[in-house]
Symmetry: C2
Subunit: 209 residues, 2 copies
């Protein structure tokens, strides 16, 4: 199925296709043309067809896409059909927001452990929290899938330096700094302020919006 | 300076240029070539030159860019040289995270009012919070710049329906749903899960990363 390297722009659009297809499926619609999908997503029909062709197509000339099938395919392509074991490091507002969020669409987003520097008597906000100094030992013995990094800038790289091959499969980093890891794993650096700055740009340039 | 419509892809890259230039400036570097900027940002040198040309250039053949000047220009282009009056609606984990975050680079990110359904005796976590039912009247009398929308999905559109022309200049929406407004203002819908799903994709396809 997969032939060449998929560009990161395509990978960034997959979650958007997933989200729109979920909405479309919930509305009861069973099939959709790339033209309709274009109106829904804001991408051009030809871009959508091109994107989906990377993974084998799915559409039928003159018919369009079966919404349920296409959503299921994209679920599998992304990897949302699988369960993930998660550790959260840093249990401030962002850590707690992720912990409490129930809307992730993967099979399981299973937070197995939470660490923080400020845990008092082993808990924060009613949640069992381990002291951050135990993270290194824990991760050696208990490999996890996703590390949610929600610590201040200063601490973020320090935590990443601890991680060895095979201990973590991916890092979702909310510290406003690009962290690097020696292990061969993907890191997703979330920069919340970037979306604020795009908004601010459009507030001053609404004609461009 | 501005000639044609700037594509949203360029607008999305501006905050990234700003972020990298801040890092470069902090490192004490005074000038930078588009080639070096390319290594830093991951965009191609020609893309960087093209992007910056939309706003008038700034570079000098064979010299590169003056880091401080370029950062200042991008600050002004985005609108980070201005102060913004902010209201936060929804004071759960995300609302509190935004309230407490001190790293926004605009001249001021001044939270003048916070609203929530669950305020008890006028405060949450030590912060003065007004009942959400007062939002409509408040916004009529006190126009703000940025509305941070951090309420659950069900409430998000309802809040947006209240907003009339001239009351709010832009909406930064963290509710995991695309909201629409009748007023002619930009809306930035943040979908945190999208970055998680890109991460999950790369966890299963590290060869593509």
């Amino acid at each position: 199925m997969k032939t060449n390297k998929i560009s990161s722009a395509v990978v960034r659009r997959l979650p958007k296709y997933f989200r729109h297809l979920s909405t479309i499926e919930n509305s009861g619609m069973e099939k959709i043309s790339s033209q309709q999908l274009s109106e829904q997503t804001g991408f051009t029909a030809s871009q959508i067809r091109q994107d989906l062709n990377h993974f084998g197509g799915f559409g039928q000339q003159g018919y369009g896409y079966k919404v349920g099938d296409l959503k299921k395919s994209i679920t599998n392509i992304i990897g949302l059909d699988k369960a993930y074991k998660v550790a959260i490091v840093g249990f401030g507002h962002i850590g707690q927001a992720i912990y409490n969020y129930k809307g992730f669409d993967c099979k399981e987003f299973d937070v197995v452990k939470v660490f923080d520097v400020a845990e008092k008597a082993g808990e924060i906000a009613g949640v069992k929290v381990d002291p951050i100094k135990k993270f290194k030992d824990y991760i050696k013995k208990h490999p996890i899938d996703i590390l949610v990094l929600a610590v201040p800038v200063d601490a973020a790289q320090e935590i990443c330096d601890i991680i060895e091959d095979g201990q973590v499969k991916g890092i979702w980093n909310f510290a406003p700094t690009d962290v690097v890891v020696k292990a061969a794993i993907p890191v997703e650096n979330v920069h919340l302020s970037e979306s604020l700055y795009s908004l601010i740009y459009y507030m001053g340039n609404y004609d461009q919006y």
